[in-house]
């Protein structure tokens, strides 16, 4: 009786095992699973922005060092616990210092870093604007020490512009 039952059980199990393998397309598991899809995007952003403390300039995403793996697990746990991105980052900074942030915090120590590019660009735009609006009248140019030519007649101006237009075709 028992033998018949066990045989029957085996027979039942075999085909279902076969079915398991082929019918489920996603038999493989994601290494890191999330209770909500939004957490997955935040996870990817965080491991991209956090630095591996031990490696030669790599973020957590690209690094296989043991400490990176540990930190990724921590990030995952904290996300599932419902902490905000800011809280998670602060958590790491408290333990590993600001070194682990690839996007430096904005504080008095990093004002120069965050403001300098913008300031430089503003200076550049000011230079461009000045040239864009510059007045080409001869009197004004003389004051600037410009060696611009003497006045041209209207016909000469037109001829000059024609020549220049032709030249513009050549890089």
């Amino acid at each position: 009786m028992i033998r018949v039952l066990s045989l029957a059980l085996l027979i039942c199990l075999l085909p279902s095992h076969a079915i398991d393998r082929h019918s489920i397309l996603l038999a493989s598991d994601e290494l890191v699973t999330f209770s909500q899809p939004a957490l997955r995007d935040r996870y990817h952003n965080l491991i991209y922005e956090l630095r591996c403390p031990k490696c030669q300039n790599q973020n957590l995403a690209d690094s296989n060092a043991p400490i990176s793996t540990d930190m990724k697990v921590q990030v995952h746990q904290m996300l599932e616990q419902g902490l905000s991105d800011r809280q998670i980052k602060d958590h790491f900074v408290a333990r590993y210092s600001e070194f682990v942030l690839y996007r430096p915090d904005v504080n008095p120590r990093t004002w120069l870093l965050w403001l300098a590019p913008g300031l430089l660009l503003l200076i550049g735009i000011a230079i461009i604007w000045r040239q864009f609006r510059s007045d080409r009248s001869p009197g004004r140019n003389a004051i600037n020490g410009d060696t611009a030519t003497t006045e041209l007649s209207a016909q000469q101006q037109q001829r000059l512009q024609q020549l220049l237009n032709r030249e513009s075709d050549q890089p």
Binding site: P53, K54, P66, I67, D70, Q74, V93, A94, R95, Y96, S97, F99, N144, G145
Partner: protein
Amino acid sequence: MTQSTIRLALFVPLALFIALTVLLLKGLDRDPTELPSALIGESFPAFILPQLQDPQRLLVTEDFAGQVVLVNVWATWCFACRIEHPMLNNLAEQGVKIVGLNYKDQRGQALQWLEERGNPYWFNIVDQQGSLGFDLGVYGAPETYLVDAQGIIRHRRVGVVDQRIWDQEFSDLYRQLTAADSNIFVREKVSDQ
């Protein structure tokens, strides 16, 4: 723009370059891989973890409060720890109290390791998951923390502590802290806080 402003402006690139050179020269003295602990001046993190010798016994920070100790993070899988071990034995003989933090290791292997190489540790905390290590900001063994009598972390060294490192980084501070510690007046003052 007047002529003299232009003349002056032409020197700006040179001035900026000189500033850059000074920065780079100073930078040559620095080590970009050296990462000071984020916990300098902070209290040693709270923990409840088993002891190596007696796993039933759970340890907490209070177990080494009141004295100046070194907390040494080590593991049997850590190659550099073998190199560091004789130095630790040496320090222990001189009377330095060393608390071991056995980091992500196997108990049996750790015990055997100490058996073979000598045990400089006052006692060993078993941190199998690495949770205390994480709270400390540990990123690779061996690491050594100098903790004062009030439980404040004063210094951390990542890497092997040899005689040279001890003399350069720990020795003076250790002496300073133990002298203060032995001063009863100071201890009373602190316990009021």
